[in-house]
């Protein structure tokens, strides 16, 4: 119950002698959450997911998946990487049969078929003849059919049309509702994840910039409009800009705000953008473990 779905401690990955792709990442994701991994291109999102899937070994630090080493946890984890690797010479039907054969005893044929059914896919079609979006459906079908406890999806919606995106996101949420599946999905389009996710992992410059329940993160920040020249201390400032006579800022308040400031709760997108625009913005203190455990 209290075993986190994903837990990283000072996790880092370096490819050869190049710069660090990911460094000093520490976070924990409670089980049962739907987590958005958000960040600009090249931020380290894919590296993080591949480390969690056990496809890469960390250069330093540790990552634990469902309380175990990623390699041990693999039978309980579904992973769809960005390039959706499938066997091009197999047909759709053969690919699903392969999924059933590789997951004896826990293959959910019904869910797998529903994932491909919406796409009007001919089961006799070979994978190599499919469009990018159709291939995504088949890859998701394989991952869902495995009935995993943790689903790791790297840019799952990138090549889907809006209708397919809505339908497959609905299917994913349905799995999460029915089986308590933890879902971790990366994207650089925040708006597309806002309604579906309840947890955020913001990655930027190889670091975890923000991590926590989205409701808590939004509640901890305030978007304020104040007269130009207003003193923002002692609040922690994520971003501040002055236009004419007006100062607008995103802050983490550490006390009551003056009466002449207008204060709003930021949207998720505003919050994410304010951190990404300001790489030097201080990271919030991690939530005490006791709070995470209580959820």
């Amino acid at each position: 119950m209290t075993v986190p779905a994903l837990e990283a401690d000072a996790l880092g990955k370096r490819f050869g002698r190049r710069a660090w792709a990911l460094r000093d990442c520490s976070f924990r994701l409670p089980a049962g959450r739907v987590c958005a991994v958000v960040g600009p291109n090249g931020a380290g999102k894919s590296t993080l997911l591949a480390l969690a899937a056990g496809l890469l070994a960390p250069t330093e630090g540790t990552v634990r998946v469902l309380g175990a080493h990623p390699a041990t946890a693999r039978p309980r984890v579904g992973f769809v990487s960005q390039d959706k690797p499938l066997y091009p010479q197999l047909t759709v039907a053969e690919t699903l049969r392969m999924g059933a054969d590789l997951n004896p005893g826990h293959w959910d044929a019904d869910t797998a078929h529903r994932a491909v059914a919406g796409g009007d896919l001919d089961p006799g079609r070979r994978i190599r003849a499919l469009s990018g979006g159709q291939r995504t459906r088949v890859a998701l079908a394989l991952a869902l059919g495995k009935r995993p406890e943790l689903l790791l999806l790297d840019e799952p919606m990138a090549d889907l049309d809006p209708l397919a995106r809505h339908e497959l996101m609905g299917l994913l949420m349905g799995e999460a509702a029915a089986h308590g599946t933890t879902v971790v999905m990366s994207s650089h389009v925040v708006a597309e994840l806002e309604d579906s996710c309840d947890h955020l992992l913001l990655v930027g410059g190889g670091q975890v910039r923000l991590s926590g329940a989205i409701d808590d993160l939004l509640a901890a920040h305030t978007r304020v409009t104040a007269p130009a020249g207003a003193d923002l201390a002692p609040h922690e400032v994520v971003e501040s800009r002055t236009t004419g006579r007006q100062l607008s800022a995103v802050i983490r308040p550490s006390g009551p705000l003056p009466d002449d400031w207008r204060a709003h709760t930021p949207s998720l997108e505003e919050l994410v953008l304010s951190y990404l625009r300001n790489p030097a913005a201080p990271a919030p203190a991690p939530a005490p473990e006791i709070l995470e455990a209580a959820v």
Binding site: M173, G174, A176, A177, D195, S196, D198, H264
Partner: protein
């Protein structure tokens, strides 16, 4: 049955939209006492919203005494709301009034403004209460 439609641009928190649409359905008699709400799975498959959002909305409705969760069976409507079922005489009068408003050349916005103004004259407290209930996550700007 109720079919939730989530408007992401409305500025109203998603769980509040589900609460409001459920109440609206109960008020109009589309949901009657004893009726079953759709399961969280059914709602999230249709809307692609997070399951916890739906559960939060259902908990809120339960807290208000409108529905009750029966373990393993689902969530059921406990009581009706207001006295304005879809086929009441009051509704017929309002239909008649709306038709006349349209005939006399009023635009949709004119009618909505007029109706809201009259509503607020007769239900001042409730209007203030409804507004404050939205503020926690909704953005007024």
């Amino acid at each position: 049955m109720v079919d939730y439609r989530i408007d992401r641009r409305s500025g109203v928190a998603t769980y509040v939209q589900i609460v409001q649409q459920t109440k609206q359905a109960i008020r109009l008699g589309l949901l009657a006492p004893g009726d079953k709400l759709p399961t969280a799975r059914e709602v999230v498959e249709a809307t692609a919203v997070n399951p916890n959002t739906v559960l939060k909305a259902y908990r809120e409705l339960e807290r208000e005494g409108l529905v009750e969760a029966r373990r393993g069976l689902g969530t059921f409507v406990r009581r009706s709301l207001g006295a304005a079922p879809a086929d009441s005489p009051l509704r017929a009068e309002l239909e008649d009034w709306a038709a006349r408003a349209r005939e006399s050349g009023l635009e949709r916005e004119d009618v909505a403004a007029l109706f809201t103004a009259v509503l607020e004259t007769h239900y001042p407290e409730q209007a203030a209460h409804a507004a404050s209930a939205h503020t926690p996550q909704g953005d007024p700007s």
